[in-house]
């Protein structure tokens, strides 16, 4: 039953793609590829929902022998636990909604059927990744989603920026993938299998738990980090995150599906899957990578004007959050946030798509050279480069404003999502998941018993605040205030139902009920981490205490003092976590509120125009703006620091990382062209040719002896005779 259901889930979207490909080869196309793909997705969604029933506490993998080489066998199979099912549901659900949304959004595109075919292929790959019970299967799905991402980012490949972006995305992620591949090689060499769970043979986890001694910890840490490299690439973590903002060149539904909800979350999924073999060291690395990513991306997001890029940086930041959670051992929190984030971020992207669509329809009508102009846009995620002309006008928030009346559904749904991501307490899912992460991080920081790692918590907290700030900035700039571009504003309109229905559904999912039901189930327990000394069993999800959180405020303060004195005791760990959770909750509410407040002051009160706000973030900043900072922020230094930092990171992004990625090809081209020119032509061919020349010259020399005069010949004869006699006499 399980196998056949999963097979249907996988094969339905695949079939939709295959039909397209085969017909394409015969130079035809299916008349309603959109409906075909959507239907396939809905079927998969139905099956996924049905699979909830099939969850058992300790599932067996359903495997088949895939590659057999004598006594080496690699098997391929499905593994169905609660993580798989939640991922299946998230993927199929978001994918279905994006399919529906795209029917409206992509309408009229010359490559309309192809878009849906790609979406189907992507869904298949992503689902395959999710259900695989072994690293090889995950890797296959992993690379296939990368391919689909490549195809979809470059969907409008006539734009040079899109063409660049898709290449960059594929290449950057591939760098990470190679790390993952090496990690796989290490694990395989050690355990002789790539299966994670016990099937016909013992899987990696069992073997790792049973066989590895403390002496292998370094080795296992390296393997873990290498596998995590794959996640760094795919989930756009520092320092491989630069591809994701560029990936916004793809159609917006793609951004929603692939670059917000599913594919980029696959890195988190992978890290979570590898949870049992993470060691203390690798966990720490993961946590720090995640934390740094979270804060860096958030600060960058503040200064964006392109609505999609704000969301892109926000995505990076949130993914960093999830990584941080898993690195800190908050397995459940990480996956919880993955789920909630998938919904609200997809919603945000679709909402922005709806806005863009509204503007775009007008804009295409207004200005037929749109694609040309867009083609000029290049690399505009750096602050220095972000001038109005470089952002497509229909994505530039400075052209928006006051849209809430024109597009009420879009506005309301997006607002819900924003409240959720900002961590507005209690009624929005984002609050719960983020809070869980913060609590987990603080708890682990206490447990680690080293003051240094409190920085992670601080980072996370800051990021939360900044997130709230820039998200509301987005909302205020887009939907509130007066229309800045009246002409565009006049043309804007609410989107058709195919687009609004998905928004509404996603908005509904941003409320906590559904998610909580799932994550509070008993079977959703973090797996053991046998390679980390402090056991995680003590950590029991404190969700049940949520309702009393306000009450816990004073308790937490008291506990903090106590914990500070005596954190070494293992039996205090449980208590510490609970305390940590409460502290975190309070602090998170505070920073979220602060962020929203600041944003409101900045962008809703609108004392200053959008342009002057932008100039705020320039080095030649006039005193007036500086004052503004001092006036409105309780600590102006913070902002200056933030600005300075974001500019630094932007520069870092632009010149260093992008420089490396883009420059590698050019440099190698130059160096290698010279080198090949030298090596192939001079050395290898050179030797060959030199030998030939010498041979040839020898021929010419010998030829000269043949003078044509007979007496010379005779002289040679007699000389030869004498020579022979002289030489051989001695022998």
């Amino acid at each position: 039953m399980v196998v056949s259901l999963i097979s249907i889930i996988l094969l339905a979207p695949l079939a939709a793609f295959v039909i397209f490909a085969l017909l394409g080869l015969a130079k035809r196309s299916f008349p309603r590829q959109d409906l075909l793909s959507t239907l396939a997705m809905l079927v998969a969604l139905g099956c996924s929902l049905y699979l909830i029933k099939e969850i058992v506490p300790k599932p067996d993998p359903h495997t088949v022998e895939w590659i057999s080489l004598g006594n080496i066998t690699l098997s391929m199979g499905f593994y169905l636990d609660s993580v798989t099912v939640i991922m299946l549901i998230v993927v199929t659900l978001v994918s279905s909604l994006v399919h529906i949304f795209s029917i409206g959004y992509m309408h009229g595109d010359p490559r309309y059927p192809r878009f849906f075919a790609y979406l189907s292929l992507f869904s298949f790959s992503m689902l395959f990744l999710v259900v695989s019970d072994n690293l090889l299967g995950i890797y296959i799905g992993w690379e296939l989603v990368g391919l689909c991402s490549y195809l979809l980012i470059g969907f409008w490949f006539e734009k040079d920026s899109a063409a660049n972006a898709c290449k960059k995305a594929f290449l950057t992620t591939r760098v990470g993938d190679v790390g993952m591949f090496i990690g796989m090689m290490m694990l395989f060499t050690k355990f002789n299998t790539l299966s994670l769970y016990d099937g016909a043979q013992e899987g990696i986890f069992t073997q790792a738990a049973a066989q590895l001694t403390t002496g292998d910890m370094v080795w296992l840490s390296i393997a873990g980090i290498l596998i995590f490299c794959g996640a760094i690439g795919k989930s756009a973590q520092m320092p491989l995150h630069t591809w994701l903002p560029d990936a916004m060149e793809g159609p917006t539904p793609v951004s929603a599906l692939i670059h917000a909800a599913t594919m980029v979350a696959a890195g988190v999924y992978l890290t979570a899957r590898m949870f049992p073999i993470l060691t203390a060291t690798s966990s720490l690395v993961i946590a720090y990578v995640g934390g740094i990513t979270a804060i860096v991306a958030a600060t960058i997001a503040i200064v964006r004007f392109d609505i999609k890029r704000v969301l892109a940086y926000s995505t990076i930041s949130q993914l960093g959050y999830m990584m941080l959670a898993i690195g800190a051992g908050s397995y459940v929190a990480g996956l919880f946030h993955l789920t909630t984030h998938a919904f609200f971020k997809a919603l945000l992207f679709l909402g922005s798509g709806s806005v863009i669509h509204a503007f775009h329809a007008m804009h295409a009508h207004h200005d037929e050279d749109h694609t040309d102009e867009a083609a000029h846009e290049h690399d505009n995620h750096g602050l220095v480069h972000e001038h109005g002309s470089e952002i497509p006008p229909d994505q530039d928030m400075r052209n928006m404003g006051g849209l809430r009346k024109k597009m009420p559904i879009t506005f309301i749904t997006m607002l819900i999502a924003t409240l959720s991501i900002s961590g507005v307490p209690f009624i929005f899912s984002g609050f719960w998941s983020k809070d869980k992460i913060l609590g987990g991080v603080l708890g682990r920081a206490m447990e680690w018993n080293s003051g240094h790692h409190y920085i992670l918590f601080v980072i996370a907290l800051c990021a939360a605040g900044i997130t709230a700030f820039y998200m509301f900035r987005l909302i205020f700039m887009t939907f509130f205030g007066e229309p800045r571009n009246q002409e565009m504003h006049n043309m804007a309109h609410e989107s058709p139902w195919t687009m609004t229905v998905p928004l509404i559904v996603l908005a509904a999912l941003s409320f906590p009920a559904v998610n909580h039901l799932w994550f509070n189930k008993n079977n959703f327990k973090p797996p053991d981490q046998p390679h980390i000394q402090a056991p995680q069993h003590a950590y029991v999800s404190p969700d049940t205490k949520i309702a009393f959180s306000l009450f816990g405020l004073s308790e937490a303060e008291a506990a903090e003092e106590e914990g500070g004195k005596d954190t070494e005791q293992a039996d205090k760990a449980h208590h510490a976590h609970e305390v940590a959770h409460n502290i975190a909750m309070v602090l998170s509410i505070i920073v979220a509120g602060l962020g929203i407040l600041l944003s409101w002051l900045f962008y809703h009160r609108r004392r200053f125009s959008a342009e002057s706000v932008a100039t705020t973030f320039r080095p030649a900043y006039n005193l007036f703006w500086n004052k503004y900072y001092f006036d409105e922020f309780y600590d102006g230094v913070l902002v200056a620091l933030t600005v300075w930092k974001s500019r630094l990171f932007a520069k870092f992004d632009l010149s260093i990382i992008d420089g490396i990625v883009n420059g590698v090809a050019t440099i190698t081209r130059k160096i290698f062209a010279a080198f090949i020119g030298f090596f192939d032509n001079r050395i290898v061919d050179g030797i060959v040719n030199r030998v030939a020349e010498v041979t040839w010259a020898a021929g010419g020399r010998i030829r000269r002896i043949q003078t044509g005069a007979i007496q010379t010949y005779l002289f040679v004869v007699l000389g030869g005779i004498v020579l022979i006699i002289l030489i051989f006499r001695a022998l």
Binding site: G24, I140, L144, K167, M185, F672
Partner: protein, 511 residues
Amino acid sequence: MLLSLIIFVPLLGMIVVLLLPRDSEELIKRVTLAFTLIPLALAVYLFIAYDRSDAGTQHAVSVPWIETFHINYHVGIDGLSVTLMLLTALLGPICVLASWRNIEKGIKAYMALFLLLETGMLGFFAALDLFLFFVFFELTLLPMYFLIGVWGGPRREYAAIKFFLYTLFGSVLMLVALIAVYLNSSIIPEERTFDIPTLISLAGETEHALADPTFQIWVFLGFFIGFAVKVPIFPFHTWLPDAHVEAPTAISVILAGVLLKMGTYGLVRINMAMFPEGMAFFTEVTEETGLWGYSLALLGFVNIVYGSFCALAQTDFKKLVAYSSIGHMGFVILGLAARNTMGVNGAILQMFNHGVISAMLFLLVGVLYDRAHHREINGFGGLGNRMPIYMGITTLAFMASLGLPGLSGFWGEALSLFGAFQEFEILAILSTIGIVVGAAYFLWTLQRVFLGKLNPKYEELPEINKREILTLVPLGILTIVLGVWPNFALDMFRESVAELTKLMGTFQAGL
């Protein structure tokens, strides 16, 4: 008997073609196609009928040939040979189809030489007599020389001569080694033999002259250089880009698809099986071998990295594919150097896969060249709009070549690397650079050719036609099928490889 039929049907075809009147070009082409389809049908039958559980030789025929030197006409197949024979037989008709329109002069001679070439290749993979093996190996040389030299591009003379000289140089060393093996096969002149299975078992006997380590090392080197030129292994590779660039499409396909495999096949069949001591010297790091133990793996690594980076630097589409071939053959060498089950299986799988994929790539380059009459990558742009199907197939081929999982190219590389990692960790890790760079140059090419705005010069460029699709589809299907179900090929040679690894004494139980 069946085997001999496969081998010599193309030769018969050559005679028939030679007897046809020069002017009836269509007839010549059809006859050639027919004579390449027969071996294909037979090879498919052979492939299906092959007993996969049997590691030994099947369909063996041994007839005395030159008795004075104890040379027999001994042919037979094991899993490895049947796989490569299928590849050869498959590429035969595809190449004939690919030559259908773009060979302008001397079609009769072209087809005749092509058929001769096919006999040489098929015979090579089936030969079980060392001398016969050598003869078939060399039989491919002359047709190839003319096919490149007469029907090639502007610098064809240079390319043809270079190809010829390099290969001949290798063959000469191989010939010496071959004679040395023969002379050492027995002290008694009457008992000397060229029979490969016999020689393999003799080399396994202790105290036999053939088993002497020093002898093995030298003879190994002789054969190795001969094959290395063909593979081609750095630094014997410089003939390859020239030959590929100048050769007509179909010949490039054969060159990359089959001829390069002859080198690696030889390494497996002769060097590994017959000279395990020599092989061990170059692939096993012990006190005795010292750094020599790294040499083969190192060559594989150098091939991968060097080929990949060179490909990155190319602006000629065909040269890029040619260099990528060098890189991909590096994985074969690396896998073989590992000498374990995974590495060798991976290497052989990679041989087959590379044959299929590089054939596709060269066909695709040919399609473009036939339309635009140049191959300068930067001279295209935005063709995705004009030629969506062509772009689709090219993307498939590129993805397969850059080792996208789910397509066949991945498995060869992955298994080779997995195998190699168990023996040479650092080199295997460094070789993964090739994977990234491989992606880089293919994607960059894809971008420069297909993406971006359409180059106004090519607004009227016709889409790929039915005949061309027909040549690509079987290869594309194989790519996908093998990508999804690699056991399809692995089944064939798994037992043979097990036998081979056992022979080399490194059959690792439990690994």
